[in-house]
C-alpha cells in the first residue's frame, strides 16, 4: 500500500470514529450572573504575588500573569460558580466560558486547577495571595492558593482581545455534584501554566471579565448539560410484591438543538430500574451511555436485575417480577433515560468521574421488603455517600440537613426526600446535628429568615476551625458565610454541636443583644486548655463580636481547684452539646476529665454558667468522676438537669437553684449507678414525663435502659418504670417525645442500632416491639443518631447510616 493509500485509510478510520461517537442527550443550563440568576454564592477574584495582601474581588477583570525565569511575578484568577440551580442529575457536559478583555502579548496556555481549601463567599473581599479568608492563610507555604497540581483543562489564549476562552471542566462538575463521596466545590484557579517562563524576556499578562462587568453577557458563564434524576420515589411493599412510583421533573434548561458544550440536547424520554437483593444496587451496576435500553426477560447489569426498561415516561411499577421473594429487602435504582436523537440509543442519569469510573452514587434509590405478614419500606432514601452518623438537622416539615464527615452539606425535603439544597461545600467535616431556627425564630440582621448553624472541624490547612452559618431564604435558595473561629496552631476539633441561645425563646432575663451560638472545643491531647464559647450569630470575624469565652487553665475564680487562691479551672475536651435552660438563663456543659475514670477536682466535668451575664460567669462546677461524652438534658418543666457519664452513672441536678459563683458545687439531687456496668451513657439521657415523675431512658454499649426519677422525693427509683433491653447490637441515643405512641396508644421511643435497624421500644417495659430495616448488608450497617419530624404527615423518623444514605420511615412502626 502506498503512503497515500495508507493516509487515506487512516483518515477514514478517524472519520468513522468521529461518526460512531455517541451524540449526547441532555438539557443545558447556563450559570451566569444575569437573567434572574443571582449567582449569590459566586466568587470572582484574583491573587497577586507581587502584592500579596491586596484583595481584588471588586475588580472588573481577573488578572493572569506570567513572569520571566526566576521572577517572583504571578497573577492567578479564582472563580467559583453558584450551583444551587442545578438539581440532582447525571452531569454530561460542562464548559466554562470567559471573555478575554485583554489578550496577552504572546500566546499563552492558561490552565484550570481544582481548589482544595475553603474560602468564605461573604468574606471574598479578604481573599488574597496570602489569605483564603479574612484570617486564615492558604495552607500552601507562600500562598497563591491551595490547588491540585494537575490541570482540569487548558486553553491557548491567542493574542486577540475581546474573544471568549473556554475550558471543558465536566470532570470537576461531576465530582462536585456527585462522586463517592462528592468533592467540596471550592472553585477553581486559572493560571498561566508556565509562570516563571524562561522564554520570556519580560512579564506577560491578560485580563478576563468578572461579574463586575456591566454587560451581563460578558460575565463568567458555565454551561452545564445534565439529565435530571427522577423525584418523589415511593415504595409500598406487600405479599410478594413491591409497588414503586416516581415522577419526572420538568426540564429547567434547553432540551433541543446543540448546546454550547457542543453536545446535542434531548429531553428525558425513558426510565430503567435496577433491583438488588439485601443491599443497595452496586455502584458499578448501570446502563451505559450511548447504548439501547436493556431488553429481554429479567436481564442483569453488573449483578443487578433490570425490572423495568421503558421508552416512555411511565411513573409506576408493580414489582412482582423476576423471582421476588418475601423476607428479602430489595433496593432499586431508578435511572432517567434520554434518547439520543433519531437513534435507538440512550444516555442515562449517571455520572462518571476519573477516580471512580462510572458513578451512580446519586441515582434515585428506594427499597422495600415484601412479606406475607409484615411488609415494610422506607418512605424515602437519600444519598449523601459518606458515613452519616450525626443526627440530621431539621426544620420540621420543611428542611432536613444531612451531615457527614465529608465537608459537604446536603439538604432534603423531609416529606419526600427530594433534594432542596445542592451539595454545598463547608470548611470541614460536620460530625453532629446542626441546629436550625425556622423563619421568625432568629434575630439575624435583616429579614427574618431560617438559619442553620454549622460547626465544622477544618479539613484543610495546618490550623483553625470554621463555623458556618447558612441563611435559608427559602427552601432551595440560600446564601452562606463563614466565621473562622480559630487560626492558631492548636487546631481544635469540634465534636459536639452548637446550642442556640435564641432571643425568640427567651424571657426578659436574656440580656444578650442577639442570638448566641454556644459550643466547646475538643483540642485532642490537651486536657487543660479547652474553651467554652458563646458567639453572636451576627458576628463574621473571629473573636471580635459580642459573646464570651471561658478558657480552661485560666484564673477564673475560686472553687474549681484544690489549690489555694488564685484557683485555676482546667478544662478537658468537650465532645458534647451544651444545654441551654431558657427559664433560668443558665448553660450546662459536660467535658472530659483528664481522660480518666476518676478525674481531678481542679478539672471539672460539669459546668454551669450564667448565660445572661455577657461574660458567661461560671456559677457552679463539679467533678463527678471522669470523662463525659453525653450532653446534659433538662426535664420538660425545667426543674431537673440529668447527666450520664462514661462510667455509666446517672446524675440529677437542681436546675432551679441560683448559683452566683465563684464556682460552687451545683445542688445535686441524686445519682444512679448502672449495674452491671455496660459502658458509657451515650448521646444524652432522654427524659419523658410520666405523670408527676420522669422516665429517664439512656443507651449504653449494647443496652437501652430506663429508670424513674420521682419528683416528690427528687430521687431515682426502680418504680414505677425500670428496665433494661439488650438489642444485641450497639444502639444510638434514644429519641422520642411526649405524645409519640404506638397503634395501641402506648408511649414509645426509637433507637438506631448497628444491626442496620431502627427499633421501636415501649416506654412502659422496654419491649422491642417493631423494627424497620435500612441496609441489611453484612449483618446490617451502623445506623446513626435519629431525628423525629412531627410536622409531616405521616410523622417520620430519619437516620443516616455508615453506607452514606439517609433513610426516612413513617412512625409509629406498629
Amino acid at each position: 500500500m502506498s503512503m497515500r493509500s495508507k493516509l487515506a485509510v487512516l483518515a477514514a478510520i478517524v472519520l468513522m470514529g468521529a461518526v460512531a461517537k455517541p451524540v449526547r442527550a441532555q438539557e443545558e443550563v447556563v450559570l451566569q450572573q444575569a437573567n434572574g440568576d443571582s449567582q449569590a454564592r459566586a466568587i470572582n477574584t484574583w491573587l497577586d504575588r507581587t502584592s500579596q495582601n491586596t484583595a481584588h474581588s471588586a475588580d472588573v477583570d481577573l488578572h493572569i500573569q506570567a513572569g520571566q525565569a526566576l521572577s517572583t511575578v504571578a497573577q492567578r484568577a479564582l472563580l467559583q460558580f453558584d450551583f444551587s440551580r442545578i438539581p440532582r442529575a447525571g452531569i454530561k457536559g460542562a464548559k466554562m466560558v470567559l471573555l478575554l478583555d485583554t489578550a496577552p502579548a504572546s500566546n499563552r496556555t492558561w490552565g484550570v486547577h481544582l481548589i482544595t481549601s475553603f474560602q468564605a463567599v461573604l468574606l471574598q473581599s479578604n481573599i488574597t495571595w496570602a489569605n483564603r479568608t479574612n484570617q486564615l492563610l492558604w495552607s500552601t507555604a507562600g500562598g497563591g492558593g491551595d490547588f491540585n497540581g494537575g490541570t482540569i483543562a487548558t486553553t491557548a489564549t491567542g493574542t486577540t482581545s475581546s474573544v471568549t476562552l473556554s475550558w471543558d471542566i465536566v470532570s470537576a462538575v461531576k465530582s462536585w455534584q456527585a462522586g463517592i463521596p462528592p468533592t467540596p466545590n471550592y472553585g477553581v484557579i486559572i493560571k498561566d501554566e508556565t509562570e516563571q517562563d524562561g522564554t520570556l524576556s519580560g512579564n506577560v499578562s491578560g485580563l478576563l471579565a468578572t461579574n463586575q462587568n456591566v454587560t451581563p453577557a460578558s460575565r463568567p458563564a458555565l454551561y452545564v448539560d445534565f439529565i435530571q434524576e427522577v423525584r418523589n420515589p415511593t415504595a409500598t411493599a406487600g405479599n410478594g410484591v413491591v409497588n414503586l412510583s416516581w415522577t419526572f421533573p420538568a426540564a429547567i434548561g434547553t432540551t433541543s438543538g446543540t448546546g454550547v458544550t457542543g453536545l446535542a440536547l434531548n429531553p428525558t424520554s425513558g426510565v430503567v430500574i435496577l433491583r438488588f437483593q439485601d443491599a443497595p444496587v452496586p455502584d458499578a451496576a448501570f446502563p451505559t451511555d450511548g447504548t439501547a435500553l436493556p431488553s429481554g426477560s429479567c436481564p442483569t447489569i453488573g449483578g443487578a436485575t433490570v425490572v423495568l426498561s421503558s421508552s416512555s415516561l411511565t411513573t409506576s411499577l408493580t414489582d412482582n417480577l423476576c423471582s421476588i421473594t418475601n423476607g428479602h429487602t430489595y433496593f432499586y435504582k431508578v435511572f432517567a433515560a434520554a434518547k439520543i436523537g433519531a437513534t435507538t440509543n440512550y444516555n442515562y442519569s449517571t455520572n462518571g468521574t476519573v477516580a471512580t469510573g462510572q458513578d451512580t452514587g446519586f441515582v434515585t434509590e428506594i427499597a422495600g421488603t415484601p412479606s406475607a405478614s409484615s411488609p415494610q419500606a422506607p418512605d424515602w432514601i437519600a444519598p449523601v455517600r459518606a458515613a452519616s452518623l450525626g443526627a440530621p438537622g431539621l426544620d420540621p416539615g420543611n428542611l432536613l440537613i444531612a451531615v457527614d464527615n465529608n465537608p459537604v452539606l446536603q439538604g432534603f425535603n423531609p416529606s419526600n426526600g427530594n433534594d432542596v439544597l445542592a451539595p454545598m461545600a463547608v470548611g470541614g467535616p460536620v460530625s453532629s446535628r446542626p441546629p436550625i431556627l425556622r423563619v421568625g425564630e432568629n434575630d439575624l440582621s435583616g429579614p427574618l429568615i431560617a438559619a442553620t448553624y454549622i460547626l465544622s472541624s477544618q479539613s484543610s490547612g495546618p490550623g483553625g476551625d470554621l463555623q458556618a452559618i447558612i441563611n435559608v431564604n427559602t427552601v432551595g435558595s440560600f446564601v452562606d458565610y463563614i466565621n473562622p473561629l480559630f487560626f492558631d496552631a492548636s487546631a481544635p476539633h469540634f465534636t459536639g454541636s452548637i446550642a442556640i441561645y435564641a432571643k425568640a425563646f427567651s424571657n426578659i432575663g436574656n440580656l444578650e443583644p442577639s442570638d448566641d451560638m454556644i459550643f466547646g472545643t475538643n483540642i485532642v491531647g490537651d486536657v487543660n486548655n479547652n474553651i467554652i464559647i458563646s458567639e453572636d450569630v451576627n458576628t463574621t470575624s473571629a473573636g471580635s463580636g459580642t459573646g464570651w469565652r471561658i478558657f480552661g487553665n485560666s484564673t477564673t475564680s475560686l472553687g474549681c481547684s484544690t489549690i489555694a487562691f488564685p484557683a485555676v479551672c482546667m478544662m478537658d475536651g468537650i465532645t458534647s452539646t451544651p444545654l441551654v435552660d431558657y427559664i433560668h438563663n443558665t448553660i450546662w456543659v459536660t467535658t472530659h476529665n483528664n481522660n480518666s475514670a476518676a478525674g481531678t477536682a481542679e478539672r471539672p466535668d460539669i459546668w454551669k454558667m450564667d448565660a445572661s451575664a455577657f461574660n458567661g460567669n461560671v456559677s457552679a462546677a463539679i467533678n463527678v468522676g471522669g470523662d463525659i461524652d453525653s450532653s446534659p438534658t433538662l426535664s420538660i418543666d425545667n426543674t431537673v438537669v440529668f447527666v450520664g457519664t462514661n462510667a455509666g452513672k446517672l446524675f440529677a441536678f437542681d436546675a432551679v437553684s441560683t448559683d452566683v459563683g465563684p464556682p460552687v458545687t451545683p445542688h445535686q439531687y441524686d445519682s444512679f449507678t448502672v449495674s452491671p456496668n455496660n459502658g458509657a451513657i451515650k448521646g444524652f439521657p432522654l427524659v419523658i414525663p410520666n405523670g408527676a415523675n420522669f422516665t429517664v431512658i439512656f443507651s449504653m454499649d449494647t443496652t437501652v435502659e430506663a429508670i424513674t426519677f420521682v419528683t416528690s422525693t427528687d430521687k431515682f427509683s426502680a418504680a414505677p418504670i425500670s428496665w433494661k433491653t439488650s438489642l444485641g447490637c450497639n444502639p444510638t441515643t434514644p429519641v422520642g417525645a411526649q405524645g409519640v405512641v404506638d397503634n395501641l396508644s402506648n408511649p414509645v421511643i426509637f433507637v438506631g442500632c448497628s444491626d442496620g435497624k431502627i427499633h421501636q421500644l415501649r416506654i412502659s417495659d422496654g419491649v422491642d416491639e417493631a423494627q424497620r430495616i435500612t441496609n441489611p448488608a453484612g449483618g446490617g450497617v451502623t445506623v446513626g443518631d435519629l431525628s423525629l419530624d412531627l410536622f409531616v404527615s405521616p410523622n417520620k423518623i430519619f437516620a443516616g447510616t455508615t453506607d452514606g444514605r439517609i433513610y426516612a420511615f413513617a412512625i409509629p412502626f406498629i
Partner: protein, 162 residues
C-alpha cells in the same frame, strides 16, 4: 544550555532532550512526561509517600500500619512524608475508609514543592478518636488509610482500632 534550562534537564542530556523535543513536537513538558521516569531518561527516584501513625498523647509512633486501642486513645496523628515530589503546587488528601469499606472522612492540605524543597514535604493531620462515633458506636476493626496526591492514590496503609 538554554534548552537544558527550559526542560529542567542537566547539560549532558542536551542532545537527548533536543531530539525528544523535535520528535514529539509536544514541548518539553510533554517530553519530560514521556521520558522523565524511565524509558532511557535520567535516573530519577520515584515519588514516595511514607505513612506513619502516632498516638497524640503518648507519641507512640508506628510506620506503614498502626494498631491502637480506641478506648484509650484520644487521637491519632497521621503523618505523611513525601519524597521526590515534582515541583509545583500540590494537594495531599488523606481518606479514611471504615472497616466495612465505606467512606468516613477526608483531610486535605495544600503544599508547594519549590526548588529549595528538594522534593520533600511532611504533612500531619490529627484524627480525634475519644468521644467520636468511632468509640461511641464501636466502629472497630481495620481501617484503610489512603493517601492521594492531586487526586491520585499514592499509598495506602491499615489502621487497626481495637
Amino acid at each position: 544550555m538554554r534548552i537544558s534550562k527550559m526542560c529542567g534537564w542537566t547539560k549532558n542530556l542536551f542532545l537527548i532532550a533536543a531530539a525528544g523535543c523535535l520528535l514529539a513536537m509536544t514541548g518539553c513538558a510533554g517530553l519530560q512526561g514521556l521520558l522523565g521516569f524511565g524509558g532511557g531518561g535520567p535516573t530519577q527516584p520515584p515519588m514516595t509517600a511514607t505513612i506513619s501513625f502516632c498516638d497524640m498523647v503518648t507519641s507512640n509512633c508506628q510506620s506503614n500500619a498502626g494498631t491502637f486501642t480506641a478506648s484509650g486513645t484520644q487521637g491519632v496523628n497521621i503523618a505523611v512524608k513525601w519524597q521526590n515530589t515534582p515541583l509545583g503546587n500540590h494537594t495531599q488528601q488523606i481518606q479514611l475508609l471504615m472497616p466495612d469499606g465505606n467512606f468516613y472522612q477526608e483531610f486535605q492540605a495544600g503544599f508547594l514543592i519549590d526548588s529549595a524543597s528538594n522534593g520533600q514535604a511532611s504533612i500531619t493531620r490529627a484524627i480525634p478518636i475519644a468521644g467520636t462515633f468511632i468509640t461511641q458506636r464501636k466502629l472497630l476493626g481495620t481501617w484503610k488509610v489512603q493517601v492521594l496526591l492531586d487526586g491520585a492514590v499514592v499509598n495506602t496503609a491499615n489502621l487497626h482500632l481495637n
